[in-house]
């Protein structure tokens, strides 16, 4: 029973592998392979996946195909533009895209399937596709719903993260912001995130995100465990804004709720502003 099942999968796979090149061969003829957008550094999404795949097909791009237009993609694109006698500007505009689409192939199904499964793979021209994907089980299993239906597609594309921070840092900060300031106006949440960052810079506080957040008695949400609630998207956005330079607290390192503050000392700090329920102070 198991064996025949395996056989079935194998046959299916090889059929798919046979068909894909045919499909994409047709695809290549199609000159509007990309959407109409000009793709620039920092962009994310399907067009970037295609751009990276095509650049890799021609051997310009050696990085991971993850759908984030980072520096590696940028240099690859510039090299391509240089070699093909185009204007070297690092922007994938209409002419560049057309040249690229005509010069390369894009095995869309293959690329997307591998990204979806979280497998390691490459997309070089001249090498059979089956040799360019990691054998065996994918490291991350695709989540399937209870009723056997696949859950809403969550493509494992890369994400942009502000320089110097990891996605986990942002997650941790979002947890703290959500625990401390959910229900506050958005600008108040940005200010709380900014206070965490200001404390890292400040000489009288620890120098890391985790050090600041987990400093005993620093945040009530840490003390009572509310930090482990799952943060919403808004909290994450507030953190990103704070990291990207917005500081509605104007450099504060303290904030407190005047109704619940137990420490008299906190009132001696010079106050900058009140946002929602929080007073921000230096």
């Amino acid at each position: 029973m198991m064996k025949s099942g395996n056989l079935f999968v194998k046959v299916c796979l090889s059929l798919i592998l046979l068909v894909i090149p045919l499909l994409s061969a047709v695809h290549v003829e199609n000159t509007d392979a990309f959407t109409a957008q000009v793709i620039q550094h920092g962009a994310t999404g399907e067009d970037v996946i295609e751009l990276q795949s095509r650049l890799q097909y021609l051997g310009f791009y050696n990085g991971k195909i993850d759908g984030v237009f980072g520096w590696g993609t940028y240099w690859a694109l510039r090299n391509f533009q240089y070699e093909f006698g185009l204007k070297v500007d690092g922007l994938a505009g209409a002419t560049t895209k057309l040249k690229l689409a005509n010069a390369s192939q894009y095995h869309e199904g293959f690329v997307k399937r591998n990204i979806q499964k979280g497998k390691k793979f490459t997309h070089y021209g001249g090498t059979p596709l089956e040799k360019q994907t990691q054998k065996g089980k994918a490291p991350a299993k695709k989540p399937t719903g209870q009723d056997g239906k696949a859950q809403p597609k969550q493509p494992k594309q890369g994400k942009n993260v502000p320089s110097g921070y990891s996605e986990n840092d942002i997650q941790l900060m979002a947890n703290a912001v959500y625990g401390e300031a959910r229900g506050e106006p958005y600008v108040g949440q940005v200010a709380v995130a900014a206070v965490i960052l200001n404390r890292i810079e400040s000489t009288s506080f620890p120098n890391t995100i985790s050090g600041v957040i987990f400093e005993p008695r620093a945040f009530t949400a840490v003390a009572d465990g509310q930090i482990w609630l799952t943060p919403n998207e808004q909290a994450k956005k507030a953190v990103l804004d704070a990291i990207n330079g917005w500081d509605p607290s104007n450099g504060c390192i303290y904030y407190f709720n005047p109704d619940t503050a137990t420490s008299g000392w906190i009132w001696t700090r010079s106050q900058v502003t009140q946002i929602g329920k929080h007073i921000f102070a230096k």
């Binding site: 957008q37 000009v38 793709i39 620039q40 550094h41 920092g42 962009a43 994310t44 999404g45 990085g63 984030v68 980072g70 520096w71 590696g72 240099w75 510039r78 922007l91 979280g118 991350a140 989540p143 969550q154 494992k156 594309q157 890369g158 994400k159 942009n160 993260v161 320089s163 990891s166 996605e167 106006p185 958005y186 600008v187 940005v190 000489t203 009288s204 620890p206 400093e215 005993p216 008695r217 620093a218 956005k237 990103l240 804004d241 990207n244 330079g245 917005w246 500081d247 509605p248 104007n250 450099g251 137990t262 420490s263 008299g264 000392w265 010079s270 106050q271 900058v272 502003t273 102070a281």
Partner: protein, 449 residues
């Protein structure tokens, strides 16, 4: 009969509850002891590190040769950072112990600066030597005070959990021996403020008050601020606008304006300087739909915005897409030189291309007359200073603020090594490598969920 059964059942229930309660109590104690031990360790570590710090500064004073002083001061720097870290683990957050922490950080910075300096060329000056002597004296005092606290803690079996409780209830935390002891330490540190840290240190903490005074325009009133905001944001008349003044703690005088725009159900917040009515930052909070325009189109919107507000001599330095939001950083350009201390960040909603955020504080206070000089060394010479393994991809010129907080004119190189990209600044008059930064490539989730 029934009575006996009832009694038995009740007896079992009572014993069961008792046992359960005892177990709970034990568990709670175990956790408390665990937490207490963590605090104790941090506290004793702190004492150990301060001891070591005092000793190390003391020995450095007696040293003469460069080969000895540099590593010794590097050690001082490491110890201050360790001690600082220990303080961070104690439940002191709201206890004013921050003078001591600040002092530790400053000792660290001071010793780091000397440790990395070429002492052959630039030996320890008389002043620095005197400062070091002063630091040693202060460190000895701190050490002794802390030792007193430590001795009391051990003699009287004081627990940090009680300190935490005392701080939490806050009725009168002054009664607590530990808190008292630490406050004494902090008091004595307060007296050290006249330590001469040297010119470099003051430059960094120099405050930007005079920069605020240099802003153009006259003082505006609340009403004027409101009108300016309406004009700037192109609001319609039914929007609710609230203008408030910033508190005393704010580094500059400004109005905080919050707007509720009923039509798009969005809240807009902005801050505007009192002097001249310049917006320092704007944040709009609204629901952003799925991206309909590209990052590139968003950039055009951002540039339109800059042009409209007379910030046209700007060049894009970074652009990043966060799903349906584009964030762009622009740096000022003067005679083809990028002025990095003056940047503006713009946030564009990629659903309809609206500007939903602006941050221009640096730009505003960084404004001044700068002289762009012809570099003393050529680009070729500057390139020669780079690591030969780097492959240069782009070259620019830029003014940056270096580690000492001074503005320096540099050659800027974007270069790659393997799959990594670096941004390197070479001082255009001395050829010194001012800054090397590895540019991050996006971070792909390793295993989301």
């Amino acid at each position: 009969m029934i009575r006996t059964i009832l009694i038995t059942i009740l007896a079992i229930a009572v014993i069961g509850t008792g046992y359960w309660g005892y177990k709970e109590h034990q568990e709670k104690n175990a956790i408390l002891i665990n937490a207490e031990n963590n605090y104790q360790r941090a506290f004793h570590d702190l004492n150990f590190h301060i001891d070591a710090l005092e000793e190390k500064i003391g020995t450095t004073l007696a040293m003469n040769s460069r080969q000895q002083i540099s590593p010794s001061l590097a050690e001082v720097w490491r110890l201050t950072s360790e001690a600082h870290n220990d303080v961070g683990q104690l439940p002191l957050a709201l206890l004013p112990f921050n003078k001591t922490e600040e002092f530790l950080t400053k000792i660290g910075e001071f010793s780091y600066r000397i440790a990395i300096r070429d002492l052959e060329k630039d030996p320890l000056s008389k002043d620095e030597y005197a400062t070091l002597g002063q630091l040693h004296k202060n460190a000895t005092e701190i050490k002794n005070e802390l030792r007193n606290v430590q001795a009391t803690v051990m003699k009287e079996n004081l627990r940090w959990m009680d300190v935490e409780l005392a701080l939490a209830t806050e009725n009168d935390p002054m009664d607590n021996t530990v808190i008292n002891g630490l406050k004494t330490v902090d008091k004595s540190v307060e007296g050290y403020s006249e330590v001469n840290w040297g010119p470099e240190m003051t430059k960094i903490s120099e405050f930007e008050d005079n920069k605020y005074k240099a802003l153009s325009g006259k003082e505006i009133t609340k009403q004027e601020a409101k009108n300016l905001a309406i004009k700037f944001l192109k609001l319609n008349k039914n929007s609710k606008v609230i203008v408030e003044e910033n508190g005393k703690g704010s580094p500059y005088e400004a109005y905080r304006i919050s707007v509720n725009e009923p039509k798009s159900d969005s809240n807009i917040y902005l801050e505007m300087t009192k002097k001249g009515g310049h917006p320092t930052w704007i944040l709009e909070d609204r629901n952003v739909e799925d991206a309909k325009i590209s990052l590139y189109q968003g950039r055009e919107k951002a540039e339109e915005f800059l042009k409209k507000h007379a910030m046209d001599k700007m060049e894009m330095s970074t652009s990043d897409q966060y799903e349906n939001i584009g964030i762009y950083t622009y740096v000022k350009k003067q005679d083809d030189v990028r002025i990095y201390p003056q940047t503006v960040t713009i946030k564009v909603a990629l659903d309809n291309g609206d500007i939903i955020g602006y941050e221009g504080m640096n730009y505003l206070i960084g404004e001044k007359d700068r002289q762009i000089t012809t570099p003393a060394i050529s680009q070729k010479e500057a390139q020669g200073k780079l690591n030969p393994k780097l492959k240069i991809m782009e070259t620019h010129q830029g003014i940056i603020r270096n580690d000492l907080g001074e503005e320096v004119q540099c050659y800027e190189f974007l270069a790659t090594m393997g799959n990594e990209t670096f941004r390197i600044f070479i001082n255009a008059s001395t050829g010194m490598e001012e800054k090397v930064k590895k540019l991050d490539d996006p971070n792909t989730p390793v295993n989301s969920m």
